[in-house]
């Protein structure tokens, strides 16, 4: 199948007074139509930066060093600003972090979405756009009469739904959701996750879902990518990654958090703190915090290697041996 989105060796650094921050480094992945990719990692690992790179919404101090991003076969960084502006919303749209604050307080929620539609589809009349807003509200579960209300009259969960409706307004083939439920309570989060999954399946949309919460990622992803310090550490089919995490960092993340399922168990700790991306460690960027690190890890950067048909890792010394077909040879802790 031809990939809808293809990211090839993408490398983007931020220029700051203190030096270059190596925020995104050598990221490659592909996403098919209808597939969802969950990107998980901690603050500052580069997950939002890669999303902003795909949306071409990088700040002025960002510089693309290497690599390409293809959307529907077209290199997005060779498109003109106007061409890409056309693609935004229609082919690719984004639900931003803290989206609740993304609505303009002085316009009704409905009119803001109508504006987005008319702006990107000049052929659409306002009448048609209003009808579409009603459909969208129905889709995300907001009563239609609420479209004439202002953002302050909405609850947090409803604002989040409105922003999702807005992102869906022009039927994009790819939606990037950056922590869309992080500020919400669990019951509301659960509803929104279920709704997004249903919508995605119904209109066969692709999605990149960004979160720091590995449990949420488990629920929404076909493919899981684990990022650390600007690098993709592990990527593969969700079932396989969760059943057999190979990278010590992935393993650590999965065992570092308590669960309400099963017996109460002790937690794995990942010692230390994430590195300064102005001077990341030599070799593997995770090596100072990894209890499986060897001299090789400290000197040579590991390349992405396939360990299963749809599962790759960047690690010299994985938790499960790549050749043994799933037999556990040791655990991170």
């Amino acid at each position: 199948m031809d990939a809808l989105l293809k990211v090839e060796d993408f490398t983007m650094h931020y220029s700051t007074k203190a030096g270059w921050v190596q925020a995104v480094d050598g990221i490659s992945f592909a996403l098919n139509r209808g597939q969802s990719l969950g990107l998980v990692g901690e603050s500052g690992c580069g997950k939002t930066s890669i999303a902003m790179s795909i949306m071409r919404l990088l700040p002025y101090n960002a510089q693309t060093k290497r690599g390409k991003i293809y959307l529907g076969g077209r290199d997005i960084y060779s498109m003109t600003a106007e061409e890409f502006r056309q693609a935004r919303w229609k082919e690719i749209s984004m639900i931003f972090q803290a989206a609740m604050n993304a609505l303009n307080p002085v316009y009704t929620v409905g009119s803001q979405i109508v504006e987005a539609i008319v702006e990107h589809e000049p052929d659409t009349t306002e009448e048609e756009a209003r009808r579409r807003v009603a459909e969208l509200f129905d889709l995300v579960g907001i009563p239609a009469e609420r479209s004439d209300h202002y953002p302050h009259e909405y609850s947090g969960g409803m604002k989040q739904r409105a922003v999702i409706a807005m992102a869906l307004a022009c039927n994009p083939s790819l939606i990037i959701a950056d922590e869309p439920t992080t500020a919400l309570d669990v019951i509301v989060q659960d509803k929104i996750l279920r709704e997004m999954e249903e919508i995605r399946r119904r209109i066969n949309m692709s999605m990149i879902y960004i979160s720091h919460d590995i449990s949420v990622i488990a629920e929404v992803s076909d493919i899981v990518g684990v990022m650390y310090a600007g690098k993709l550490m592990e990527i593969g089919e969700a079932d396989d990654v969760f059943k057999r995490p190979r990278h010590p960092y992935t393993y650590g993340l999965m065992h570092a958090y308590p669960s309400i399922l099963g017996d109460k168990r002790d937690l794995a700790t990942i010692p230390g703190e994430p590195p300064n991306l102005m001077a990341p460690p030599e070799g593997c960027r995770f090596n100072p915090r990894c209890d499986r690190a060897t001299d090789e890890c400290r000197a040579v950067e590991p390349l992405m290697t396939k360990v299963a048909p749809e599962h790759s890792i960047a690690c010299h010394n994985p938790v499960w041996a790549p050749s043994s077909g799933g037999e556990q040879v040791g655990v991170a802790r």
């Binding site: 309570d185 449990s215 629920e219 937690l267 700790t269 990942i270 703190e273």
Partner: protein
Amino acid sequence: MALPDSGPTNDVNDVLVRVQNLTKHYPVGRGFFHRQHAVLHAVDDISFEVARGEVLGLVGESGCGKTTTGRMLVRLTNPTSGSIVIDGTDVSSISGADMGTFRQKAQMMFQDPYESLDPRMTIFDIVSEPLNVNHIGNLEQREERVAEMLTRVGLAPPATFMFRFPHELSGGQRQRVAIARALVVNPGFVVADEPTSMLDVSIRTGVMKLLAELREEFGMSYLYITHDLAVARYLCDRIAVMYLGKIVEIAGSEEVIGNPVHPYTRALISAVPVPDPAVVRPIPNVRGGVSKPINPAPRCRFYERCPAAQKVCKESDHPELREVAPGHFAACYIL
């Protein structure tokens, strides 16, 4: 229908904190020309106890009153009515000089390590301030005590941290400073308001383990406030679930997680995402969204959202907590 004198607890022998009929009402809405304010029942007539050495988790969604409860316990907020007795001291009657003594018994840890530390104070100043204001020790002894606490919370060697400023530290390190500050006076009781929720996973685990260790080491009691049931299960002996100002269920942690009886607790537990793509969670059985307890009608607070609601739930006042199994209390008519 009144609660027994002592609220539900698993150990009546050694009660450190006893909370009875604690209530906090806030006037809201326009009150300028209108005589009658609307009243937000942030915390409404709750009673519970914390035993010596016990960790009680207070769990609920935003706006349920869990932080207000915690703040009242350490007198950062004054209750509207009700009583709080901590280690023999009636918290509401403390005044003047006694406040210092009380603060040595009860301390609070805050959620946001970026806002709870004064940016213009060094780490030494921050951690030694509770000793300063309570006139504990001389400078040398304070230095020694601060160094000891910093080492204990994992900021070692202390000399490299003492004279730095908060902005030079990471979020996890700041939260460790906040923990050291709360524990430096060796309090018997600590209200911890989501101290790990702002931290990244790999950092959070270390801080959670530290809190568990410190509790063992110093025999402290915590009221641990969190929205995260998994964290509460890991750290707490018992869990109290709050909904719109009321405690709706309270029991041992494993009992609450494994055998919840209140419809709200059940919904809350089934909404928690699980880190396993193979698990299909049931849809949480609950209607609508959280409202605010402003002038609440005299019926079960959960009535509008409850899947099991019946006539009695609407026609009677909010149900009292009653014991449904040994040590397991729930406030529901339909049990």
